[in-house]
């Protein structure tokens, strides 16, 4: 599927926010100069085709008493896949990315209680024998909400 200009407008507009009204899709469709039905069918397609990963409220874990951190490891390349499988097996590991660097594995650990973070880190360390670098955010300067397409 190729994106046309209405698709792009929908992506750009819906990143900014969404009304909390009786018929919010109708309200957004009016702004975009299209119909509610058209907006809904395009949005469904954008989600199905994975141009959008999600549509809805974005909750902040920390505000709900949960906590998360970013952790990194330097995994020997021959052990990479088995270590990845072990790290991913933790329910608390939400995202995990390979990056091309000595520090080649980067993952987010999310838990309901702060002390659980260290438990996860300790278990990974113990079982893999590889150091886990805990890099929790200390200050957040900015999070952009939008990607212009």
């Amino acid at each position: 599927m190729q994106l046309d200009s209405l698709d792009r407008q929908i992506i750009n507009t819906l990143q900014k926010g969404f009304p909390v009204s009786e018929r919010p899709y109708h309200d957004v469709a009016e702004i975009l100069g299209t119909s509610e039905t058209e907006l809904l069918s395009r949005l469904r397609k954008l989600l199905d085709d994975n141009y959008l990963t999600r549509f809805g409220p974005m909750y902040q874990v920390e505000k709900l008493g949960g906590t998360f951190t970013l952790a990194a490891m330097k995994v020997p390349i021959e052990r990479f896949d088995s270590v990845a499988a072990y790290v991913n097996s933790f329910y608390e590991v939400a995202h995990n990315y390979q990056r091309d660097h000595d520090f080649n594995m980067w993952f987010v650990i999310a838990t309901e209680k702060k002390e659980e973070i260290n438990n996860v880190i300790d278990r990974i360390k113990t079982l893999t024998g590889i150091k886990v670098y805990n890099m929790p955010k200390q200050q957040e300067f900015f999070i952009k909400l939008q990607l212009h397409v």
Binding site: M58, Q98, Y133
Partner: protein, 176 residues
């Protein structure tokens, strides 16, 4: 500074059981139905106006960052996702972090702890570009902005997503 007001933080995190159910019902997404809040209300056995009111309140309390669409950078042509990392003086980090955060191509900007000697970097800024050369130009711009306060930097490009389950906020059984 980031520990600002514990009482305020505590108060803002208090949610009741209906809020919790509302979060579980919507954390994967809003129904694609002309009246999405009515659909959610039906599931919870409350009125649509209560759903809307509760969402508005959670927006005000910043429990919800916003309601909207999350783009898939990679699918939309932003193939080079670089984590740029910087070693800057700790005493100036707030000022520098704010400056870097305002650059339009920086999506996230954080202070994180160094792990000396292997990891000297304390400022992280994510850049998203169509390709690596564009990402490197962005990195050069950050370097120029930091000037002599940049004591060293690196860029880590993601090469593979190993896991992406999203942050499950409330229920351990209701997501995935």
């Amino acid at each position: 500074m980031f520990n600002k007001n514990i009482d305020e933080e505590k108060k803002s995190s208090e949610i009741d059981d209906i809020d919790r159910q509302l979060i579980i019902a919507t954390q994967k997404g809003l129904p694609l139905d002309p009246r999405p809040y009515n659909e959610v209300a039906k599931k919870l056995g409350i009125t649509a106006s209560e759903v809307r009111q509760r969402l508005e309140l959670m927006l005000e309390r910043k429990i919800i960052r916003r309601i909207g669409a999350v783009p898939n950078h990679y699918r939309l042509g932003y193939r080079a996702n670089g984590m740029t990392v910087w070693d800057v003086p700790d005493r100036k980090i707030t000022e520098l972090g704010k400056k870097v955060g305002t650059l339009e191509f920086v999506s996230h900007c954080y202070q994180r702890p160094r792990h000396l000697p292997e990891w000297p970097y304390n400022l992280f800024a994510m850049v998203h570009a169509k390709d690596r050369s564009e990402a490197m130009k962005m990195t050069d711009k950050i370097a120029a902005l930091l000037g002599k306060d940049n004591h060293g930097h690196d860029v880590l490009f993601s090469t593979r997503i190993l896991k992406k389950s999203g942050l499950r906020l409330v229920s351990k059984t209701n997501d995935y």
